[in-house]
Amino acid sequence: MSRDAPDDVRETVETVYRVESRRVLATLIRLLGDFDTAEEALHDAFAAALEQWPRDGVPASPRAWLVSAGRFRAIDALRRRARFDASLGEIADRIAESTAVNEAAAEHELADDRLQLVFTCCHPALTPDAQVALTLREVCGLTTEAIAHAFLATPPTLAQRIVRAKAKIRDARIPYEVPARAELTERLAPVLHVVYLVFNEGYAASEGDALTRPDLTAEAIRLGRLLAELLPEPEVLGLLALMLLTEARHAARTSADGGVVLLDAQDRTRWDRALIREGTALVERALTTRRFGPYAVQAAIAAVHARAATASDTDWAEIAGLYDVLAELEPSPVVELNRAVAIAMRDGPAAGLARIDVLMSGGTLADYPWAHSARADLLRRLGRTSDARSAYQRALALTHQEPERQFLAGRLRELGA
């Protein structure tokens, strides 16, 4: 990079990089048809900007300038290398030709290609691990090291995963396109799942000392906003709403000593009202379409909680009803568990306990710590102290996350164990 750029232009380039680089990259990937070529082109384009903008001034549309600079540099580089590998010359000609056609439709050039890129990164032909890694790397621009750290993998393992995924995209020719309407629901599912996974990993880090990883929740919400802006499908809005309403409780969820504070004990004045307003409005938008799915229903449940000024004001009848809908849309033991807890709050602990016991006799939740801890809580409220104690002990034995362990140990102490 050039060193004689005045500071203010250098700053402008840095700002443009932060705001526009992922979008420029997405367009370059579409135009050049290859991740690595596009990444190199992106690099070269910004190097050129540092050199030329101080001399010629910042262009009116920096993004368009960067796309076109990146493209020309990629074509140049391919032609230079063509001396050693003739096939690259053909590729360069093909890109030059196809982009000349695109030039006629300059508007197309400025289209937002990030949505296509998300669908490529989350293609069902890639493994879920690779989908997450590739999306965070290519769409969010996280470094390989940061992703490896977040998902407790070594950087070489993660880099390898990304390299393999890119090779599959190239060799199996996974296209850069938003799926047709008829396939949209099916193809949107892994995209939403990736965003949700990233959010969840940030919200409830599966291992380690820290309860949350705010960097990941922020990335997931940024992705959710981008999707909602480009593709406002009901489930996209529902997922964004769910993330916002969950994030709104963030500050109240951790105690001063880093422990977990459950919903009913949280200081609700610390909930983020702006996020709740935004999330609630999105839920309503999603529900009125009548094409909503599980994310919107989960968001609706979060919105009912958000509406209650105190834990005892919670409308449990409505929550139990929403769990009925959710259990129908997406039956799972964990949904049934939450439904049982809602029923316990509506009809009393005995009713909930009976349901949880039936559920757990099926065996699927036997190793799920929160099933034991929910059961323990109901036993405690029914005055069955020694049963409650052994259920908490079972939950504690199954939990590997330090703040959650402390929470369960605290409950056990309260019961005089």
């Binding site: 590998d85 003739a86 096939s87 053909e90 293609h123 032909a125 060799d171 199996a172 020719r173 996974i174 296209p175 396109e177 799926p179």
Partner: protein, 121 residues
């Protein structure tokens, strides 16, 4: 770009299929083949005889060994294939998902490696 669609299913179930269902299946395959010929996707395709008819060869140190049966014993066996020409993987998936066998077994979609332009053929 060419993709090979490999059709796998549990071949031991085939003889147990009632005649009317087997006939329907054959008719569906006929209809599918006709439709992908019409759409320009079809390059080739065949049903294979059961794995019991297979012979597997290996040559090591110049010595040829011939064994009876398929390359590997698997729960589902390769029973046929289509070679198609498709725009990209999404197009290939669209075509492969209409192969009647997808409802009984599995279809593996494999891109055919392209010969680089500068390699003499």
């Amino acid at each position: 770009m060419k993709y090979l669609c490999l059709i796998y299913s549990d071949e031991s179930q085939w003889p147990k299929l009632p005649k009317d269902q087997a006939d329907t299946m054959m008719a569906e395959y006929g209809e599918f083949t006709r439709s992908i010929k019409e759409s320009g996707h079809y390059v080739g395709g065949h049903r294979l005889e059961p794995t019991g008819t297979a012979t597997t060869l290996r040559s090591r140190n110049g010595k040829l060994s011939t064994t009876d049966g398929p390359f590997a014993e698997t729960k589902e066996q390769l029973g046929g294939f289509y070679l198609i020409e498709a725009r990209d993987l999404n197009d290939a998936i669209q075509v492969a998902s209409r192969i009647p066998g997808v409802r009984f077994g599995s279809i593996e979609v494999r891109p055919v490696a392209e010969v680089p332009a500068n390699v003499a053929r």
